[in-house]
Symmetry: C2
Subunit: 360 residues, 2 copies
DNA sequence: CGATCCTATGTATACGTATTCATCGTTGCA
DNA sequence: TGCAACGATGAATACGTATACATAGGATCG
């Protein structure tokens, strides 16, 4: 490797000179290798190698008006989102795209940040934040970038959207509980304003009503462990404990389980508990939670595909909205037969290790 | 907002025409607002607003040779890394930088991916992967981007590096255990080849030796919950259970705790257990783990600062290597006084909610 | 009041690549 | 043999911005 003068980076022009061809041919060699003669290509590749040439994606993007970068705007907190981000990254890499990530704590940061994002002329943008200004959405679409709303059911119809089937999933959990004889169910949501939260409650309430069971709603206030932990106090203080507590998210459910234990209550002995999301930890022996597993990899794949703008952008067709079904995971927290035997602190064997978590 | 012809995006030239000034003045207005006359600026801003002008960061980057983008190459798995990524994102956003993220499952993907990364002329790159080819490292530094090795002690001296003080942290944990009268300690590492793993064991072994305690090493095989869960079997089958098990990472420790419980063993009653990292979950009531809390926000801040290349790049000075001290979190898993009272399934009050986790 | 300096702006160019158009040598076919 | 078609390449230009340089006008100072 020769020293490239240590200062000026080596460009396609340098390679061209070294290989005795024109810059245009060098460019073709890296974008459309098929159209350049085999021996010329070898000469160019040799020269490029020797000089340590690395194509400049910035210049390429400026000329071709495509960056191969997809952005993702995602909440900073929560195990669920951290999982999803990982899938985004992997899927995008597989497609030769890069991931520009924005974590936000407060929704207020989003609109501000979005302004900066737009400067980068991303090919696509995956939005996992609820309240984006409609006007801004419209303006963003005009620039030709492919927007995708992720896990935000309300956006379907306005913007291409990818989400798990929240209502059907909650319904399946409810059916599972009804099958175990539950008639008085408490639904613990995270934030009532979230559209996922509402959809899940709707599914649970509808199905339970059809079996004659009651389903009250309670709000934890956040999608966090701590919120679930605190909610356990409220639940334990009810006149009469419900048969089951359906929690709107796994993380909140973990808090609920720990909070209940502190009051001497355990699942499934005293009350059944279900979650939603299918986090890896749900299958950890310490919780072994019955939950609805989101097929995070499939969801990510769909989102990435839409955001990559591979589909013919007819742009007059109704925005595609993908809804994927989740799968029920039966954990110890609703194991009725074991209720008598189950003591706090004892865990069944099958709950860990041997059975690969579907959520991963 | 007038329609910008719906096809051609609006550029600084369009704004210049609309405002009756030159393109150069428009550019100055967005990069060095101080140097343009107040009334001119107002005219330009009005025109820009009216046309819906958004500066093109790609073109800016091409001209200025700076992208304001910092890359991060991070393992795809593990709660620890997911946390760290969030901090990176937040810190970078605060500095007006963008985060280009690469999650890798297999270390083999890294060198391959890195090739693609380099095309984007990032301002900086945070590396959390161990085995990058030295030659590649050298080539990358030549391009002028600021490399930072994160949580990779071995790299210190070769590349600017940011890491928690692994040895001192493990030493502190060991001192804590020694103070509780432990004389026979088992150290459960994740992957012996990892430099963090070795540093932690070194710190633990040295300190324990100085108190006359023994410290055997055992390898879980991975930094995962499952690995810890399996290791619990091995540990429980030892001729004699050690006084304490020092686990090299929180996630592995969670698996160990659950694995032990399955065998009817609990901490701290039968054996003390410590972790390392200070994940949020360590303070969840379900585990309440004694661990060494990494100041993830500080670490991220240092890494981001170095990667942003704000420091004068003398480039002949020895690469700065930042080592930050962690803090001990005393959890239930080493609470000796409670050993008699503690039953599996009962949790102390103070362990959750009221005490904000230092790791968050 | 003229020389000087400073401020605000315009002109021109460069950043590194992709791509269109033109060119030139070759092959295929009548 | 002549002409069309084709394949490979070079020359030239555009992508949208930042900035060095030039310039014009006003303020400052002697």
């Amino acid at each position: 490797m020769v020293r490239p003068d240590r200062k000026r980076p080596v460009t396609s022009v340098d390679v061209a000179a070294a290989a005795g061809v024109s810059q245009a041919t060098v460019a073709r060699c890296f974008t459309t290798p098929g159209v350049v003669a085999p021996d010329t290509r070898l000469k160019i590749e040799a020269a490029a190698d020797r000089l340590g040439y690395v194509p400049n994606a910035i210049a390429r993007s400026l000329k071709s008006q495509r960056t191969s970068i997809v952005g993702a705007v995602v909440p900073a907190v929560g195990e669920y989102w951290q999982n999803v981000v990982t899938y985004f990254s992997r899927r995008l890499t597989a497609r030769g795209r890069q991931l520009l990530l924005f974590s936000f704590l407060d929704h207020a940061e989003v609109n501000e940040t979005l302004e900066a994002v737009m400067q980068y002329r991303l090919d696509g943008l995956i939005l996992a934040s609820a309240n984006i200004a409609e006007a801004q959405l419209a303006r963003m679409r005009q620039t030709g970038l492919s927007l995708v709303a992720f896990n935000h059911p309300d956006a379907a119809g306005i913007v291409p959207s990818v989400t798990v089937d929240n209502e059907a999933g909650a319904s399946e959990l409810a059916r599972h509980l009804a099958g175990l004889g539950c008639t008085r169910v408490l639904y613990l949501g995270g934030v009532a304003a979230a559209s996922t939260d509402r959809a899940r409650f709707r599914g649970a309430a509808r199905t339970l009503a059809s079996t004659g069971a009651t389903c009250n709603y309670m709000e934890a206030g956040a999608f966090t462990y701590e919120a679930g932990y605190r909610a356990a106090d409220t639940a334990a203080n009810l006149d009469r404990l419900p048969d089951a507590i359906m929690v709107g998210s796994d993380e909140v459910a973990f808090g609920m389980l720990d909070g209940l234990r502190r009051r001497g209550l355990t699942a499934p002995a005293d009350v059944l508990v279900t979650g939603f999301d299918g986090l890896p930890q749900a299958s950890w022996a310490g919780y072994d939670l019955t939950t609805l597993v989101q097929p995070a990899d499939q969801l990510a794949e769909h989102a990435v595909k839409l955001a990559s703008g591979d589909g013919s952008d007819a742009s007059d067709a109704p925005p595609p909205s993908v809804v994927v079904a989740g799968t029920l995971r039966r954990g110890l927290t609703t194991r009725r037969g074991d209720a008598g035997r189950a003591r706090p602190g004892s865990y069944s064997r099958r709950s860990c290790g041997t059975e690969p978590s579907a959520g991963r």
